[in-house]
Symmetry: C2
Subunit: 212 residues, 2 copies
């Protein structure tokens, strides 16, 4: 117990931020290691070396911790997406970077799609997911589609339909891991698969599969 | 009890097939009604008017019943997909019908995407999903893409990447129901949403969003 208290005290200069970050990092590591988002608060305390009272203090309960982790992982990317919207490149280039970024988040945080699935099926947490994650993402996409329509790069596309097509395509590669192994004999989504999937999706979204 | 036994006996001319079908129909109805695939075997017995021993006889346990229902719903569509492959229309037309059919299954059976999600995350049932559902679907798509490449209609597309993009796009509309309501204010996926989504997805898959 002494070392645990010591650990939390050692982060005293930025007590809230860094203890919270240590806990979320531990949660993400455990989810990745165990391939499940069903991690107990006491496991997180043990893995982080922090007292379990800290976990309760920051997140309340398991759902709270899961929500905080999803917001933490995706929040940072949303900031970059907002920067993207005002960048001085073509709408086509921006939308490419946007889609690449979504796939990269799924790839870098192998637990994030399960986590979003879990949070989206609970009526309470799905409200927060919609407000803090989906709405900003939808809004960024809407602006990018509008920019491209104005410059004459894009055909008119409904942002809601676009959102579900793109998010679904990005998500399903990671949702379908078992299927990928069993139906295609591909063991893991490595960097080569990620690159090839991104390329195929971008080609389809921008140019379609029809020749002519 | 008497009426239940009577009911099962009344279907005695095709005992296996029709009792089994009655049970699966009851399971699907309960899942639709309650918006969850977490239905107990005794609920199915009660709703179907058949004895719960029958449920156990046909499906063993809950996972068995879920698997049977998924196979039943999708199996019939897979037969039609195999007919599609050999139809005398262009590959473009076939692939359109194929994608429309997938969205229609999701739309007609509102529980099917949750059911597949549930079955795909269990190591045992995911094997059956891969064999009986994913592999035949992948194979049909592979043949259609090949036909279109041969006739010069399609650019070359990797069937595995194509599978995850299309299935993900079809699935996510239904997975994201809560998000649709909360982020877009759209209450339900009605027939107009289904048609518009299908049109947008087909336009994107075949022609992309870029002008020119």
């Amino acid at each position: 117990m002494a070392s645990k208290v010591g650990n939390s005290v050692s982060a005293a200069k930025e007590p809230k931020l860094s203890s919270r970050e240590i806990l979320l990092k531990a949660a993400g590591e455990l989810m990745t290691e165990r391939s499940t988002v069903d991690i107990s608060l006491s496991d997180i305390a043990r893995h982080s070396g922090l007292n379990s009272a800290m976990v309760k203090y920051y997140f309340g309960d398991k759902q709270g911790m899961m929500l905080a982790l999803a917001e933490d992982v995706i929040g940072r990317s949303l900031i970059r997406m907002n920067e993207l919207v005002v960048m001085d490149v073509s709408a086509t280039e921006k939308l490419k970077l946007h889609i690449q970024a979504i796939i990269t988040i799924y790839f870098r945080y192998p637990f994030i799609n399960q986590l979003i699935h879990h949070l989206s099926t609970d009526p309470e947490t799905s409200k927060v997911v919609a407000e803090k994650i989906s709405k900003p993402l939808v809004e960024a996409q809407r602006v990018l589609l509008e920019q491209g329509a104005k410059t004459g790069e894009f055909k008119p596309v409904d942002p809601m339909m676009f959102y579900f097509i793109i998010l679904g395509a990005c998500d399903h590669l990671f949702f379908g891991r078992h299927i990928m192994k069993l139906a295609f004999g591909v063991d893991a989504i490595d960097d080569a698969v990620r690159r090839e999937y991104t390329r195929t999706l971008l080609d389809m979204v921008f140019g379609g599969i029809l020749k002519t």
